[in-house]
């Protein structure tokens, strides 16, 4: 994985000192809260309902064990012994004191980490495929491109006061595991007919209150123009994105209002101009970054067969591992979704353990997934059983990847000042209900996502089943959506009809899954059945 050189380290160290100074000026009253707010946000510090929340960046979701140990130490030292992994492949702490924030950032900087631009109206942490560099189905490892963009977007002087936040995702396989088309800019590394690598750009996707799937604005940007083209996309947005209404300020509204062709045309014009400005790093810089993402020293000739005689292990194996490009290895996913648990939460002890396991079994590497789980990307198949035993002892071996218990949920009204309804208790009740009835066993792949308000941090638009918490005359009410999907066949869920109360929504989810179980055909997932039979049978069961 990427390692800082003295330049990168100097930048992060300077940032810590800058924020220490800004915090001091805030506490001395030299900065008003209005002036301080964007500064703290661009250092990951949100004011929530009960305390400050700190969001730490995990660039493209990749971590080593030393970094993971520091994340656990921060949970113990400055929080309440927990961390919360997020849908942007980051980690959040929910009980932070402002006075401690500069020291936490300094602790992070000792292991090449930071909270830079994890919030605020700027280019956010770049996300990527959690299986990058390990999966059999990728063209190349997308992370070097993400790292190039990370450096370009960090402290970019022109783009720190954009109309609104800006999220970029980079992938390099046909299968989209990172919801690429639901980002402000989605980039897919592709090969053209001449066999050269380049980048397809998608712009104007997003969730929130107006969900949009990003259209492709350019099918091929040569690799030696990647930064210049990105800069052109951002400049057009910075100049013309709406600033009159916060809810219409994301690039998706600009692309929608201009039309994708007109937005693309303006980008092309700016791109042609910027190509004369010498802002593109040399290709040697990309090559330098790539050397950090070379394969770890895999052993050759390892067997692929496994002892499946332990039935519980076999279930975990089938559900929570993914094919690796290297024979004899597997990608293992650690579920942070125990039955009845808080999705994405891990205790300091669990975080330390995952770090140790990465060191022991996965070439010192971990990934955070946008579904709020942790990946050990490079595990020898021969080690999987031992790994599973260790995970099981720590409550980390729930075999539910991409199943109904693997719920994405935002922090909701338990923490968030924007929320209208709680998300976590609903996730816990659904998880328990399906474990108790045993229906989770029958359901197979079913992605359920819960947001506590229309800002959609819990990705409810993209759930096979989505739940949206709203405020209905002072009480929490939950709408049900069906048919969303974040993958290649990206689709947005549709609302079934009137909402439900907290227990009602749990029953409604069960009824929807009953329709699927009754109507499914051979090999169909919930989403496939929904797409075939449509909304009506589900409405009938829910409201009939």
């Amino acid at each position: 994985m990427y390692r800082y050189d003295h330049y990168d380290q100097a930048m992060v160290d300077a940032r810590v000192e800058e924020f220490r100074d800004q915090t001091r000026r805030r506490l001395e009253g030299k900065l008003t809260e209005d002036q301080f707010k964007p500064l703290r946000l661009q250092n990951g510090l949100y004011l929530q309902l009960h305390a400050y929340m700190l969001r730490v960046a995990v660039p493209y979701g990749t971590l080593n064990s030393a970094q993971m140990h520091v994340l656990a130490d921060i949970a113990d030292k400055y929080d309440r012994g927990y961390g919360h992994f997020t849908t942007r492949q980051n980690i959040q702490y929910n009980w932070i004191r402002l006075e401690d924030a500069p020291d936490i950032l300094a602790d992070l900087a000792t292991v090449e980490m930071h909270a830079i631009q994890t919030s605020g109206n700027c280019i956010r942490n770049i996300s990527s495929d959690q299986y990058a560099g390990a999966t059999a189905d990728e063209l190349v490892d997308p992370r070097p491109y993400a790292e190039l963009l990370r450096q370009w977007s960090s402290f970019h002087p022109e783009f720190l006061t954009l109309p609104r936040k800006f999220k970029i995702c980079v992938i390099a396989s046909e299968t989209d595991r990172a919801a690429m088309k639901l980002h402000d800019i989605g980039i897919r590394i592709v090969r053209n007919e001449a066999g050269e690598l380049g980048a397809a750009f998608y712009a104007g996707g997003g969730m929130g209150r107006t969900p949009m799937i990003a259209p492709c604005i350019r099918e091929f940007v040569p690799l030696d123009q990647l930064i210049t083209y990105s800069e052109a996309c951002l400049r057009v947005y910075n100049r013309y994105g709406r600033r009159d209404n916060k809810y219409k300020a994301r690039i998706k509204i600009l692309v929608h209002e201009l039309g994708k062709d007109e937005y693309a045309r303006q980008v092309e014009e700016e791109f042609a101009h910027l190509q004369t400005q010498g802002i593109e790093p040399p290709i040697a810089e990309l090559e330098r970054i790539k050397t950090y993402f070379a394969d770890p020293p895999f052993e050759a000739g390892l067997p692929d067969d496994l002892d499946r005689s332990d039935p519980d292990f076999a279930v975990w194996l089938d559900r929570n591992t993914h094919p690796h490009k290297q024979p004899g290895y597997a990608i293992a996913v650690i579920s942070l979704k125990p039955v009845g648990g808080i999705p994405g939460d891990a205790s300091a002890a669990q975080i330390h353990l995952m770090a140790d396991l990465a060191k022991e079994y996965s070439f010192d590497e971990l990934r955070v997934t946008h579904a709020q789980n942790i990946v050990l990307p490079h595990v020898r198949k021969a080690d999987l059983h031992a790994l599973w035993r260790r995970l099981e002892e720590a409550g980390l071996a729930t075999p539910n990847l991409d199943r109904i218990g693997d719920i994405i949920a935002c922090p909701g009204l338990d923490y968030c000042s924007l929320a209208n309804a709680r998300s976590i208790p609903v996730a816990q009740k659904i998880s328990k209900r399906f474990a108790e009835t045993g229906k989770d066993e029958e359901l197979g792949e079913l992605k359920l996502k819960i947001s506590g308000c229309i800002n959609a941090c819990g990705h409810h638009h993209a759930g096979h089943i989505g739940i949206l918490g709203v405020d209905k005359k002072g009480t929490e009410n939950y709408q049900l959506l069906l048919g969303g999907c974040e993958g290649d066949d990206t689709s947005l869920g549709k609302i079934t009809g009137p909402g439900f109360d907290e227990d009602g929504i749990v029953n409604a989810v069960e009824k929807a899954t009953d329709v699927y179980l009754a109507r499914r055909e051979e090999g169909e997932r919930f989403l496939d059945t929904y797409r075939r039979i449509g909304m009506e049978p589900f409405k009938e069961a829910l409201y009939g």
């Binding site: 300077a14 402290f155 006061t161 600033r243």
Partner: protein, 141 residues
């Protein structure tokens, strides 16, 4: 406290800055003021005669002026480029990078804070409108 910061040696222009619309209609002015919604490129045919461009920041959170500044510098404008309005010390280093070379804030800067902010960044990651060599250029120098 500091009312004006200026990084130029030439005489400041004393003419009042006119709006972009007024400027384009009566093209003998040497000073113009850009508002966030103005298109900086409307000034490109007149760069020769311009000696002062003020870019107004009615609110520090509106970042359109950063693009306006770079666009003018990229087109070769070498007169004074002044940030005015709700300009805060924590933006100074980024504004310098976008080509601003003078600052007239609504509220005066604390001299020490402004100096610290300007000295903050030992390196830069991007090529912009200033002369600083980006980290990538130094790595492959």
């Amino acid at each position: 406290m500091v009312d004006i910061l200026r990084f130029r040696d030439d005489e400041p222009v004393s003419d009042p800055a006119v709006t972009v619309d007024a400027f384009v209609d009566q093209t003998n002015a040497a000073a113009v003021r850009i508002e966030p919604g103005d298109d900086a490129r409307a000034l490109l045919p007149f760069l020769e005669q311009l000696r002062l461009v003020e870019v107004n920041f009615p609110s520090f959170g509106d970042g359109r002026g950063y693009s306006s500044a770079r666009i003018l510098r990229e087109a070769g404008y070498d007169g004074e480029l002044r940030a005015v309005g709700d300009v805060l010390v924590d933006q100074l280093s980024h504004m310098r990078r976008c080509g601003f070379d003078s600052f007239v804030p609504d509220k005066p800067f604390d001299a020490e804070d402004a100096e610290a902010a300007l000295q903050r960044w030992p390196e830069v990651y991007q090529a912009a409108a200033d002369e600083r060599r980006p980290i990538w250029a130094k790595r492959h120098g």
